[in-house]
Amino acid sequence: MAGNTLIEAKGIYKSFSGVPVLQDVHFEVKAGEVHALMGENGAGKSTLIKIITGVYTKDDGQIYWEGKPVEINSYQDCQKLGVACIYQELSVIPPLTVAQNVYLGREPRKGPFIDYAKMNQMTQELIDKYQFPLKPTTVVDNLGIGQRQLIEILKGLSQDSKLLIMDEPTASLSGKEAEMLFKIIQKLRSEGVSIIYISHRLEEVYMLSDRLTILRDGKNAAVLEKEDIIPAKVIETMIGKVVDESAGSRKMLHSDDNAEVRLDVKNLTDKTDRYRNISFQVHRGEILGLGGLIGAGRTEVVRAIYGVDKAASGEVWLDGKKLNPSPKASILEGIGFVPEDRRNQGFIPLLSTTKNVALTNYDIVKINGTSISDADELAMSKRAIEAIDIRPSDPNKQVGVMSGGNQQKVVLGKWLMRDLKLLIVDEPTAGIDVGAKDEIYSILEDLAKQGVAVIVVTSDLQELLRVSHRIIVMRKGDIVKEFKNVEVTQSKVLSAGQGVEEEAE
């Protein structure tokens, strides 16, 4: 059971281009404990882990391993100490067997040849010790994601790792696979292996962890012992009591139910069960906030409404007309979509503002004989630049070299050139500076005033509260809560997303 301190990070500081990300953070894991790490997006969890695994260099502070100060400058350094990171993005080799993966690069040999008998036996011993549902000779091709993750854990254990770092390990697992993983984690703990468990999912943390460190805005917010891990308290700590009282994190929602319904989504259900029976409406002039944890299915739902991915069943109605969603049809019907992955899906970095703005609008750009009217194209982009103050204002500037905020304005700008009925924005201000954020919010508000229905998907609670007229919260593919004409706080939204029933205040 939990014993001496295995790893301790003291007084850790880290900043990126002058912006502090971690300030005087203290983090300690004892031998044989499952230590959870939580915090809102941007609280500094992944930065802290990257410092521990040698991906980033800390600005100040000291890491101790079993009481001795150590320098970790590369992933190899941390492997040598006995730390193994279980990657979210799986790094197993599908054509090889379980045993070949576990001992990759370290295969036992007889002369020039791999000693398969010995390798399989060594793997079997590990499997038996920790009771993994695996066989050494199975080819990974034939395994599910959960089992592939176990191979990575096994690989760590085969190198005598004392500390396993798991970053959102259940993100892509089915319920059954997750249960298997939880059993394994408990088994590992009983064998004296320490685990850092990073998760957004409070219920998992609640069930598994011995202790919980919460980070908030790059600082330690709390270290809770098992008996103190009470959902309401955790959420309060993550958000911060003071913050929750402040103006930015509570809001009286107002929406007008009598306004004409623009978008009507009926029983939208995914082919692979990432969301099911999603029904909601958005009214003329309304900004609907779609909240929930990452992986709750929000992005998948809005992609299906726009028609990038097809839903298995369900209907999408716009202004009383049933749609057959596809990007082309959506554009013609007056739906705009600003995707989450701006750089890869939002715009073409090598093209100019003019070309990017024109890209979705060639049906309305004038044609001269057989070719597109350059003058009309240019006039259009000038209108966009003027309307939302894109900088630099040179219409021929490559969008790839602009700031994140202006890139996003270009993405928005192309939709403003159309007669929009519905605009969907997914994480509209991720990686954008504060000033540009405000500008983007006012663009959305202006659109709403003009009667456009707007859906905002965001994981930033402050943003959600700031822009929304009404909020619905998704959790594990279902709509679990609607906040309408009530006072809402960050805690309430987070609790709904976590599936925590809030006690009456």
Binding site: Y75, Q76, S91, V92, I93, P94, P95, L96, Q100, L104, G105, R106, E107, R109, P112, F113, I114, Y116, P133, L134, V139, D141, N142, L143, G144, I145, G146, Q147, R148, L173, S174, K176, E177, E179, M180
Partner: protein, 336 residues
Amino acid sequence: MKRMNQTTMRRLISIGMLLILVVLFTILAGAGKGKFFNFDNLIEVVRDASIPAIIGVGVTFIIITAGIDLSTGSMMALVGMTMANIYAYTLLPFSVMMLAGILVGLLCGLCNGIIVAKFNVPEFIGTLATMSIFRALTYIIAIRDANGVIKSQPMNHSQYTWLGTGIGKFYYVIIAMIIIVAAGQITLKYTRFGTNLYSVGASKKAATLSGIDVAKTRLIAYVITGFTVAIGAIFTTARLQSATTAIGMDFEFNPIAAAVVGGVALSGGSGDVIGTLIGALFMATLENGVRKLSINTAYQYVIKGAIIIAVVIFDATYKARMDRKAREEGAKEGLE
């Protein structure tokens, strides 16, 4: 219930394709002397498959790492012409001549390896460039007559041409092919290097994290290909009893086609040398059968190309389906 794994399944499919082709030609061209299905003709098919299969061993290694080599045909010509020069202008023994040929092959492979693995030039463009360079070098060192016109250099000394024959119908090239394919398969399946090839092809990132030297692994695959090309060049010139600048023209298609038909995925990380051998036999059977049916040989290339496209489409859709199934079933079974 245990499902058959994808690799075994794919192997059965390529064997099935080969058998279907043999049966088809037997029906269309008939069995018996002078027809398709008889011992003499079938051994010819195997003989024709040998050189693509030998060079296919190296090319398979490269494709498993998710690479490609377009220069093997030109490389073969350069090796052949190097040996022709030694043959024409020196009195060195044939063993030295062949060693020199092998050395040139290794050097060409090393060049490809350095360009691709050390300087990270994309494989396709890097080896397309060396394809042009090796062919040009062949012309530069080509043997010329008194008027300076390139001529075909005879290499018809019996101490060399015996390599083009065999023990009865068991041609030496077939024996060499069996040895090299076996050595290739053992390397692939029973050595760390073989495992490393798969790892590099499946995920360079995962391979690096496991301490595998990705650049070195890729480089060695190209050097091995250089060696197999040199062996191929030796048997080709011995059989032709001459060296010309046209040797290996358009040949690079053959080992790649053999590998693809045999189940070596161009995306890397899967397939093996036995698969490539089956693929080489398939392509040789196709060529032979088309000849026996007296079909215009131009159609041969249409058929070959179409088959490759079909196989790649099949592999991609089949793999996507199997992967999804495996994930779904994996999520269900074996977890209790």
